[in-house]
């Protein structure tokens, strides 16, 4: 099979831990070096926490696998320092077209809004995403990557965890305070601990045919219900980097996976779609089924499940890897705050509460899309086909057409870490929501708000700022062990060494955050809003900061 990509091989290295008489202790071990595990290592490194990443393989993803990278994921990766490489290589798209038979029935534009650093989506093969993540991990001294070190057994209780690792040279044992499990959908560690990921299996099969071709189709997402070239089934066409195109054919439950993977069976399907004259080569093929499921709790003693090991969705909606990254984004700062003594252990439980909410949202949307695409009985097929038929003429029916509701950043509106609004905001960003980006002048010169916040708590200040009050807040934060980013918007009246001054030249920041003449936002290290006010009261901000660090959580949750 020709291929557009050669997988890098990372060498096995012997670790001194393998010669130790007693298990070497590491504060944090991460099992699994896919997108979730690598992201977790980078997130913790940004917080100054050292990690050891154990992976059973010696390369990145084999095959393109997850290809749609959402805006929020790109922003998170930008915070880690590997977002630009993805943007440079990825294919930017924002237009999606939906067809029923020959006819286009619907089209959507994902980000009609200007003034964002990153686009709504890029398409990039998972191996590139992982390769750039590995490269960034290797630059970070806090991260030790161990390839071909496979976790084979885990023993855990409230005091910590022992991990047995298998290598070509034999087994060895490590101990850790926290184990992050990122060993994928069929998590061996999860099952070895007697834990389950529960949900439903969908009785349908899909063929991914990644083909290399030079075609001048636009970089749009094109989705067919009942495609004329693939009758009765759906088909997806999507462009990736290096002139690779993802074609996803629905096959039905009765299809034979081994037969369908063969080139001689793929060729007629592709030719029916693109015509016999189109020149293409097969890059990678896979037949898959999928499940929507999650664990009841993502935490087991001091073992934290992240990514597909914790929750799994169908691919329509791009909520797998994108959901994984938002989970890691949520966990990293909390784990660091607890490990560094800045927050009670109960803060860690909000990883579970906030991300259960995120996982449920992702499963709900991807289940609905899957149910629409694969009706379960005759009557739902009649409804589905009627919706598609009506949608050709009547706009109301287009609202019901579902070819995947694409991943949007998750908000945590009912998180116990939020301080509810006491002041009047007509719009802006509610507590629990991720911060939208906006163009800014000044500061580090990057030109974007999101490059000025994150990794630490920060406050965004607009209006008259009293430096004494700021001192008061900084002292309160210091007493909690918190360094605080002070970000002043269009403020000329004070000059402080410890503040960053940004200009809202285009007025977009004002509009997106409803800043008005005066506003204060408290922002978490994962760039989610914790609280906001119209006027700056250092006591109120300090109280919200304590709450965001878990001071108000019931202590029994710490169990």
């Amino acid at each position: 099979m020709p291929t557009s990509y050669v997988n890098p091989e990372y060498p096995y290295q012997h670790s001194p831990d393998q010669d130790a008489q007693l298990p070497t202790h590491h504060p944090v071990i991460i099992a699994g070096g896919g997108p979730a595990g690598l992201a977790a290592a980078m997130d913790l490194a940004q917080q100054g926490v050292r990690t050891v990443v154990l992976d059973d393989n010696n390369t990145v993803s084999v095959g393109s696998r997850a290809i749609c990278i959402a805006k929020r994921t790109l922003e998170i990766c930008d915070r880690y320092g590997c977002g630009q490489a993805m943007l440079d290589k990825g294919v930017t798209w924002h237009l999606g077209k939906v067809y029923f038979g020959e006819e286009q029935i619907y089209e959507f534009n994902l980000l009609p809004e200007e003034d964002h650093k990153v686009p709504a989506f890029i398409n990039l093969q998972q191996y590139y995403m992982e390769e750039y993540m590995v490269k960034r991990c290797m630059e970070m001294p806090e991260i030790e990557l161990r390839w071909l070190h496979k976790v084979t057994a885990v023993n855990t209780d409230d005091s910590g965890t022992k991990v047995t690792v298998h290598t070509s040279e034999g087994d060895y044992t490590l101990s850790c305070d926290y184990l992050l499990v990122a060993d994928g959908a069929n998590s061996h560690i999860r099952s070895s601990l007697g834990l389950e990921s529960k949900g439903q299996v969908f009785e349908d099969r899909f063929l991914i045919a990644d083909i290399i071709m030079k075609a001048d189709f636009p970089a749009e997402r094109r989705f067919w219900f009942d495609a004329p070239f693939h009758p009765g089934q759906s088909t997806l066409l999507h462009k990736q980097a290096d002139n690779v195109w993802r074609i996803d054919f629905q096959l039905g439950w009765d299809a034979d996976p081994e037969e369908e993977k063969k080139l001689e069976n793929i060729r007629p399907r592709v030719e029916a779609m693109l015509g016999k004259d189109m020149e293409w080569e097969l890059d990678w093929a896979s037949v898959y089924t999928f499940r929507c499921r999650k664990m009841d709790s993502f935490i087991h003693h001091r073992v934290f499940f992240i990514g597909d090991a914790a929750h799994q969705v169908s691919p329509f909606g791009a909520r797998g890897a994108n959901g994984a990254l938002q989970g890691v984004d949520n966990l990293g700062w909390k784990l660091a705050a607890v490990m560094q003594g800045r927050a009670p252990e109960s803060l860690l439980h909000t990883y579970d509460t906030e991300r259960q909410h995120g996982a449920k949202e992702n499963i709900l949307h991807s289940t609905r899309a899957t149910d629409f695409m694969t009706p379960k009985n005759n009557i739902t097929k009649v409804f589905r086909d009627t919706v598609l038929d009506l949608s050709r003429h009547y706009p109301f029916a287009r609202a019901l057409v579902n070819s995947g509701r694409l991943s949007k950043p998750c908000s945590y509106p009912s998180s116990p870490l939020n301080t509810l609004d006491s002041d009047n905001f007509g719009a802006g960003v509610e507590p629990g929501s991720p911060c939208p980006d906006a163009p800014v002048g000044g500061g580090n010169g990057s030109g974007w708000l999101l490059n000025h916040i994150g990794n630490r708590f920060g406050i965004l200040l607009k209006g008259e700022v009293d430096s004494n009050k700021l001192d008061h807040l900084v002292n309160s934060a210091n007493a909690l062990g918190q360094a605080l980013d002070l970000i002043c918007i269009d403020t000329a009246d004070i000059q402080r060494e410890d503040a960053v001054y940004l200009r809202d030249d285009k007025g977009v920041l004002n509009q997106r955050y409803d800043l008005g003449a005066s506003a204060v936002y408290l922002i978490r290290p994962d760039q989610h809003v914790a609280a906001r006010w119209r006027h700056f009261d250092p006591e109120a901000v300090a109280a919200a900061l304590r709450r965001a660090l878990g001071s108000e959580l019931a202590t029994e949750q710490a169990a």
Binding site: D371, I379, R398, L400, R405
Partner: protein, 71 residues
């Protein structure tokens, strides 16, 4: 005259569709038919306005299978 709204008026289109699929889950075809009839009657009463109902009936009646048959 009142006009049938053909733009989306759903407060949550996906949730409605999921609930519709759910109510038909594991039903016999006869039961499904009955559920549909009940649903139409309930919603028709909610709409009430005869002029609007007649416009909806007119669109609903134009089904492809019959159009093809007429050709």
């Amino acid at each position: 005259m009142s006009t049938l709204n053909l733009d989306s008026n759903f407060s949550d289109a996906d949730a409605f569709y999921a609930a519709l699929a759910d109510i038909h889950r594991d039903r016999t075809p006869e039961a499904s038919e009955q559920i549909n009839a009940r649903l139409i009657l309930l919603l028709a009463n909610q709409v009430g306005d005869q002029a609007i109902l007649e416009q909806a009936l007119a669109i609903a009646g134009q089904i492809d299978s019959e159009t093809d048959h007429d050709k």
